[in-house]
Amino acid sequence: MSVPRYWRKQLNRYNLKGSKCETCGRHFFPPRGLCPECRRDGKIVDCEFSGNGTVRTFSIIRTASSDYDIQTPYPLAIIELDEGTCMTAQVICEPEEIHIGMKVKRVFRRIIAEGNGGVIVYGTKFVPA
């Protein structure tokens, strides 16, 4: 990922900053500028998610790209945040520990380091709550 591209998403990755439609109450992560339900009647505002959620489904990654290879096997999950929207993130626990319905909370971790000399990308992962 290019440095500017990572930097543009930084606030969302660090603090789960998304958006919500004040007309229908739906939350979005990553943020949306337009509510797909309310369309022009929607009023989109910024919001920060609490970081608490539930594992809806997951997969155990056993073969990863080289940057993530050292962490295998690791669980990658779709997490439903308490505010109602879903996001994909790594859950830091043993593969046999994760299960659907598991309560999780956010933590701040390294996502990827581009070799020994490249940029280090930080962001949100989850741990069992």
Binding site: Q10, L11, Y14, N15, I70, Q71, I92, V107, F108, R109, R110, I111, I120, Y122, K125
Partner: protein, 349 residues
Amino acid sequence: MVGIITYGAYIPRYRIKTEEIARVWGANGAEIAAGLGVKEKSVPDLDEDTITMSVEAARSALARRDIPRDAIGAIYVGSESHPYAVKPSSATVGEAICATPVMTAADYEFACKAGTAAIQTCMGLVKSGMVKYGCAIGADTAQGAPGDALEYTASAGGAAFFIGNDNPIAEINHTCSYTSDTPDFWRREGQTYPSHGGRFSGDPAYFKHVQGAAHLMMEQMGTTPSDYDYAIFHQPNAKFPRKVAAMLGFTSTQIKPGLAVPRLGNTYSGAVPIGISATLDIAKPGDHIFVTSYGSGAGSDAFDITVTDAIESDVFNRSAAPTVEELLANGKYLDYALYAKHKGKIVMQ
């Protein structure tokens, strides 16, 4: 008066026992563990570093007491293991706790006392009225070369303190320092692991500077060891702080709550900050706390602290974040091979 507004600590969940490290190097583990007074140490996860631990510690502090992010005017992160040689850890911490952009930030390095140097800087900024709140963090993923004596203790963890003068949970009555050019421990640019002067790190380094700052503090405050309820000293192992406490006239009861090293190891810049956190976890209003850090190279910072009623008031929720005792519990043990992988000691092609 200037003091600690809130605090938080962070310790990774992984551990390795002293005996497991000794097994690999053919040493007597029980003898080493007894000699150092360190049974096990914390190990960072594969995706943890000084920045991630600093953010977690700062977020724990803010969970205990929510302060306006735009009132945080300074962030200083003290560490020997900043992930970047050039790019501030403190700016990332500021972004992650939503304190940016109207703030100053810098990374500190003074071996194991960079965290307490950060507290002193924040005290100065608050006292002078330059900032309302300053954030001082001491954290490290400590390095020790494979097979070196440091490997038995070099661990990971840190703590964050928000300093201000608006109803602090603990007032910092006074601080003073004692510094000299003493080459007892160093790491040259580009080197992965530090070097040290072996036994030279004892008398002319640790003991001289810790005693120097401690005596200076008691002289300037007109106090004696019996005036304090608790004392925290830098803890590279359990032997040094116990010995210096006895030399100064402090009892084992006074240093016990803040002595995390037997189960944590030496978190370098995080050591005294975690010791202060562990003591504040159990402190009551009116408790008088004595603190002396130590950083090789060499220097010590001393603090005289009095816990206030605010620690048990509605403005502060101590149970909103884990205590040091809770962070130390339920560790997940690694063997040496997994430990080497976690610490990046295995070179992968």
